[in-house]
């Protein structure tokens, strides 16, 4: 990507030294690590609660956010976080007919998503920006991440994780067993609103690295892999986060040495990991059944 002076030497120390030679690359790794940790932890609950569609919509909303921010001349980060949070509140405000049905939510969420994409395209058109801009908003980019952006990601990510740590246990209860949780006094509505807000933060972080359309590479796939590996909640979250960080690092390194975008690498790695994990789970289950039947 950087032309002649950057190339994979297959000498690990040399390659790693080369990776961090440029400050922007070090920043890309910092930002990627933060985003992967936050998205991995919050994504674990997204997978558990089957809210992938909402997660995706919140990240798509970041597209007009970032484009609009660029249009009015403020930092794109404002757009990412601002729009995702507003969209999270909007989705949280959908009245539920009975308890926790997601069917109505799905229709409204889909509407929001389509409108967000259209709005983003409008902003880009108004900006008369080069097409490269749109590409990196949609599919991710690791170039030009500044120190202050890294700080913002760190502070907001830490806040999101702190909130998650406080609500994690009742959220787990509400996610797998809402009726009993409600009877035990768990505030379902409050939890779902707070979780949507935290989710908005997580996708706004992740979409700044892997792009708004490929946010699943860090948000959904690593936790999904982790949940096939273990059923212990905390261990599963930790494994999901580790896989996410691994995917982000490898994806950034590959994008540095080769000429394809970072979003493609992270998504491919995530897909490969998922296929391997599912195959492993399937063959494990088959072996267990075979043992049981003999």
């Amino acid at each position: 990507m950087l032309g002649a002076d950057a190339g994979l030497t297959w000498n690990l120390t040399d390659d790693i030294r080369q990776l961090f030679e440029f400050h922007f690359m070090a920043n890309a790794f910092r930002a990627g690590t933060i985003a992967a940790i936050v998205a991995g932890a919050i994504g674990w609950f997204v997978v558990l609660r089957r809210q992938s569609f909402v997660g995706h919509t919140l990240s798509v909303v970041a597209f007009p956010g970032a484009a609009g921010a660029t249009l009015v001349g403020v930092s794109a980060a404002w757009g990412y976080f601002g729009f995702s949070i507003v969209a999270a509140l909007l989705i949280a405000a959908i009245p539920r007919t009975q308890g926790h049905s997601f069917s109505e939510e799905t229709a409204v969420v889909g509407t929001v998503q389509a409108f967000a994409l259209a709005l983003g395209f409008l902003f880009v058109t108004l900006y008369h920006g080069v097409l490269d801009e749109v590409d990196s908003l949609l599919f991710g980019s690791f170039l030009g991440i500044t120190d202050s952006q890294v700080t913002t990601l760190l502070v907001i990510g830490a806040a999101g994780l702190a909130v998650l740590a406080v609500i994690a246990r009742p959220l787990l209860f509400a996610s797998i067993d809402p009726d009993v949780a409600a009877a035990r006094g768990v505030p379902l509505r409050l939890l779902s609103v707070v979780f949507l807000l935290v989710l908005g933060l997580a996708v706004a972080e992740a979409s700044q690295i892997v792009g708004v359309l490929l946010v699943f590479a860090l948000l959904v796939i690593p936790p999904a892999i982790a949940q096939t590996i273990t059923m212990r909640p905390l261990l599963s979250i930790s494994i999901g986060v580790s896989i996410g960080v691994g995917i982000a690092w490898l994806g950034l390194a590959l994008a540095y040495f080769y000429d394809q975008p970072v979003g493609f690498y992270t998504t491919s790695l995530a897909l490969a990991g998922y296929v391997v994990a599912r195959a492993g789970a399937w063959s494990g289950e088959r072996a267990r059944r075979a043992r049981a039947s003999t």
Binding site: V166, I167, A168, R169, P170, D177, A183, G185, M231, L235
Partner: protein
């Protein structure tokens, strides 16, 4: 009906709306268990429940003593689940009065354990049975679900969970993903979860529904054992009274927005049910003493054993 008759009925915890006279309920003395408990654990007085503008049931009056095993019976849609939700404090009773241990019900009270209706976990739910039981213990507390080896509180909680799992005889499968367990196995773990808060009142909404007959009687006797050994009050909403009949101290029979309560032998009679439903109903008894109710408007059978196996449940 005279005032004296009314107060007498209240004493025996038999509700008597104007057009329903539980004839035999009058004559039967209150059960000895009921005498021992100074104050009833659950006391319902002239209670009415509304969902939206629809009145589900009205003027429901009955008492449940401590340590009693009680069934709430009645046709579908009559508001049996609503009655449980009222005891959970999730549905307000007005007008009328509903008290648990002398207090209005409070949602989230650890005094009341709850097992909602027809809950089965999707086979893709990757959560272990023990973790589901554990949530019943501390799932409503803020914080993170920590591993069991971390800290005294977690070790203590893990021990409690282990004991609960042993109590419901679920040790063999409690560590498997709950979504992959059979209905009966899931039900055992969910009972353990409901017991985790050490409730004095356990509310179960159709816990025997969708189980085969063997599992139905196994779960029924398990509930009875827990009820007797822990002195816990068990109120169970049931569609079919037969699996639980041997254990019952009292039934609350709901129909047409009204209720009759009393000992099973008094309530499940031709006269009482005819009065309650307002249409001729006959209660017959099989050779083993199980009642067969004939003539229900919904053509619901209350004795699936007489019918061709599991199809009987399709009437539900």
């Amino acid at each position: 009906m005279t005032t004296t008759a009314r107060s007498r009925l209240d004493e025996t915890a038999v509700n008597s709306p104007a057009d329903v006279t539980p004839a035999e309920g009058d004559r039967r003395p209150p059960s000895s268990r009921h005498d021992r408990a100074a104050q009833p654990l659950v006391s319902v007085r002239g209670a009415t429940a509304r969902l939206g503008r629809r009145t589900i049931w009205s003027d429901v009056t009955f008492d449940v003593g401590r340590g009693e095993f009680v069934a709430v019976l009645g046709p579908n849609g009559v508001g049996k689940s609503t009655l449980l939700k009222a005891m959970l404090g999730l549905v307000r009773v007005a007008p009328g009065d509903l008290r648990i241990a002398g207090e209005p019900p409070q949602s989230g009270s650890p005094e009341v354990g709850y097992l909602p209706q027809r809950r089965s976990f999707d086979s893709s739910v990757r959560v272990r049975g023990v973790d589901v039981v554990r949530l019943g213990l501390d799932g409503n507390r803020w914080g993170m679900p920590l591993p069991t080896w971390l800290g005294t509180r977690n070790r203590k909680a893990a021990r409690t969970v282990r004991e609960l799992v042993e109590l419901v005889e679920a040790t063999d499968f409690a560590r498997r993903p709950i979504g992959q367990l059979s209905g009966g196995e899931q039900q055992r773990l969910l009972i353990a979860q409901a017991l985790a808060g050490q409730p004095s009142l356990l509310l179960l909404d159709e816990p025997l529904d969708s189980l085969d007959l063997l599992n139905q009687s196994a779960i029924a006797s398990l509930l009875d054992r827990i009820c007797r050994s822990r002195g816990m009050t068990v109120i169970i909403v049931a569609h079919d009274v037969n699996p639980i009949l041997p254990y019952l101290d009292r039934v609350v029979y709901l129909a047409r927005g009204r209720a009759v309560a009393g000992a099973p032998g008094d309530v499940i009679t031709s006269e009482t049910l005819t009065n309650l439903y307002g249409t001729p109903i006959e209660v017959l008894h099989t050779s083993d003493g199980a009642p067969v109710i004939v003539g229900l408007p919904e053509a619901t059978s209350y004795h699936p054993r007489l019918q061709a196996g599991p199809e009987a449940h399709l009437h539900g």
